[in-house]
């Protein structure tokens, strides 16, 4: 366990050193976050307080802020593994990493730390701007349960990210799941608009998108003053998704690596 933590810390430090060395990219990244916040702020002024959001405190801006926050973590999670494997394949570190005594699961968790850290910085920016622009506040107890919901949501996206990495190991290029899943989640889970505006038949698809439960529960906690009992269903559904998706994705990844060891395509680019 201690060795696994040491390795995760090493992978985190590596990613942090490398990410921080690209100053311009870092600047662009945080500029994008600021621009997104401002865009949704002005959109919120235009939309005011739509009837579909009447059960939440605040207006559209607060609703969208929570969506941006949850989807920010989800995006970081779903793209981290595939990107990391592609980079390692391109710069020739992939086989060397796999020849170290580091377990695959440790490599995966270690790879996730910096994207999660950046998503947290984004989240702080969202909350700070929300507070500065519209006085957005949320109960502390709500934040604690929301953090658990977020973790569960991130777990399902991590599973999808691992499946994506599996395909990259086999096919070398192409990140088939991340963009599709993110776009579908944005559309169907109600990331920046309530699903009530979707046609009824399309709304039914929302229930098979894990992000829907994460978003619904988080908003209930942060914007509607709900408690654990109000989000129990969301928590249970997300636990179910995690129990199925995480082992399945790790199994698929192990199988892909095994196959690549047989076909000799592990180090191919």
């Amino acid at each position: 366990m201690t060795q696994a933590l040491t390795r995760i810390a090493a992978l985190t430090r590596r990613d942090l050193i490398i990410e921080l060395s690209y100053h311009f990219q870092l600047m662009l990244r945080f500029s994008t976050v600021l621009l997104a916040v401002l865009m949704f702020f002005f959109l919120g002024r235009l939309m005011g307080r739509p009837e579909e959001l009447s059960r939440y405190e605040g207006g559209y801006f607060e609703f969208a802020l929570v969506g941006l926050l949850v989807m920010g973590y989800s995006q970081a999670c779903v793209t981290a593994f595939g990107r990391s494997i592609q980079t390692a394949q391109a710069d020739g570190t992939f086989e060397i990493l796999l020849s170290t005594p580091t377990r695959l699961s440790t490599l995966m968790i270690g790879t996730l730390a910096v994207p999660m850290l950046f998503a947290t910085i984004d989240a702080v920016v969202y909350i700070a701007f929300g507070w500065a622009l519209v006085g957005f506040t949320a109960p502390l107890a709500g934040f604690a349960i929301a953090a658990m919901l977020l973790l569960l949501t991130v777990g399902t996206f991590a599973a999808i990210g691992i499946l994506s990495a599996t395909v990259i190991i086999l096919t070398k290029r192409g990140d088939p799941f991340s963009s599709l899943v993110l776009q579908l989640s944005n559309l169907l889970a109600g990331a920046v608009f309530p699903i009530a505006v979707l046609p009824e038949w399309l709304q039914n698809f929302s229930y098979v998108v894990p992000a829907f439960y994460g978003l619904r529960g988080t908003r209930e906690l942060l914007l509607a003053g709900g408690g654990v009992a109000d989000v129990a269903t969301d928590i249970l559904v997300l636990v179910g998704f995690n129990l199925v998706l995480l082992p399945a994705s790790l199994y698929a990844l192990n199988r892909a690596i095994r196959m690549a060891r047989i076909t000799g395509t592990l180090g191919n680019r």
């Binding site: 060795q3 040491t6 390795r7 810390a9 090493a10 992978l11 430090r13 590596r14 050193i17 490398i18 060395s21 690209y22 710069d91 020739g92 570190t93 086989e95 060397i96 990493l97 796999l98 020849s99 170290t100 005594p101 580091t102 377990r103 395909v167 086999l170 096919t171 070398k172 095994r258 196959m259 060891r261 047989i262 076909t263 000799g264 395509t265 592990l266 180090g267 191919n268």
Partner: protein
């Protein structure tokens, strides 16, 4: 002078033992073929019945023409490939069944400077791999500093993308020896080096072997392997064509180089 004359330290138990290993690159299952590109559509035999051993304190040279199977053998030893038949064991651990134990005991240098992060300093690279090997932060830093000094890489705070090819090579070796493994597996480590840097790297290999490490060195450069290695294994078309010392080939290094070169060029059917 042959290496065998000045590096006699060997033990009887091999650190690396390869028993009758065969590797056939199998194509992926039919349903996956539209997605996975492989070099050939059918099975590709790469190694047939290869056996070898490397003892502590020994440098064994692996030579052979392009496509002979050297890199395949190295990847089998380092658990990056799965053998079709046969067994690889490192320090008594089976590579297929106990891969993490095996990886704990191997330092791998793959095709030059693979594995280095250009946007990190030499010391940061070494610390990273030290910690992946399970070292604490302080230990990894101390060991990294020691290794850099040993490799005469004094610019420890310079980013690796500013290193010369020779420096990167030395750092790759440093990366491999960071956890002080009993076995070093080096795949063409001197390929991009000039003759002076290559000779200096050869001296380093000898020093590492003198401290008890077993080294398997794959190289195209016959002069290098004859100079550095205590034993040679020549592979052609996935089959071991020669295994022995340079003295088994000829009396002088120059004659041995010629004999080895002839051996590698001979058609398999006419081999001795």
């Amino acid at each position: 002078m042959f290496m065998a004359d000045h590096n006699p330290r060997t033990s009887t138990t091999p650190i690396l033992a390869v028993y009758d290993v065969t590797k056939i690159y199998e194509p992926p299952p039919r349903w996956l073929r539209p997605l996975i590109r492989t070099a050939a559509s059918g099975p590709v035999p790469a190694l047939r019945g290869v056996s070898l051993s490397v003892h502590s304190g020994e440098i064994v040279g692996l030579v052979g023409p392009n496509g002979a199977g050297k890199t395949t053998l190295i990847k089998l030893i380092t658990t990056l490939l799965q053998p079709t038949a046969g067994q690889v064991s490192v320090d008594g651990y089976d590579a297929d069944r106990q891969p993490y134990h095996v990886r704990d005991r191997i330092g791998l240098v793959l095709e030059g400077d693979q594995g280095l992060y250009g946007r990190m300093t030499g010391l940061q690279n070494l610390e990273f791999y030290g910690r992946l090997a399970g070292m604490g932060r302080t230990t990894a830093r101390r060991r990294g500093t020691e290794v850099l000094a040993m490799l005469e890489l004094t610019a420890q705070d310079k980013l690796v993308f500013g290193y010369s090819a020779g420096m990167k090579m030395r750092l790759s070796i440093g990366r491999a020896i960071m956890p002080d493994p009993p076995l070093l597996v080096l795949d063409e480590p001197t390929r991009s080096l000039d003759p002076v840097a290559s000779r200096s790297t050869g001296r380093l290999f000898r020093e590492l072997a003198e401290t008890g490490r077993a080294i398997l060195l794959s190289s195209h450069r016959l002069d290098e392997v004859l100079d550095v290695c205590s034993r040679l294994i020549a592979i052609v078309d996935g089959v071991v064509r020669f295994s022995g010392t340079a003295r088994d080939l000829a009396r002088t290094p120059a004659d041995a180089a010629r004999a080895l070169s002839d051996l590698l060029e001979t058609e398999p059917s006419s081999a001795p």
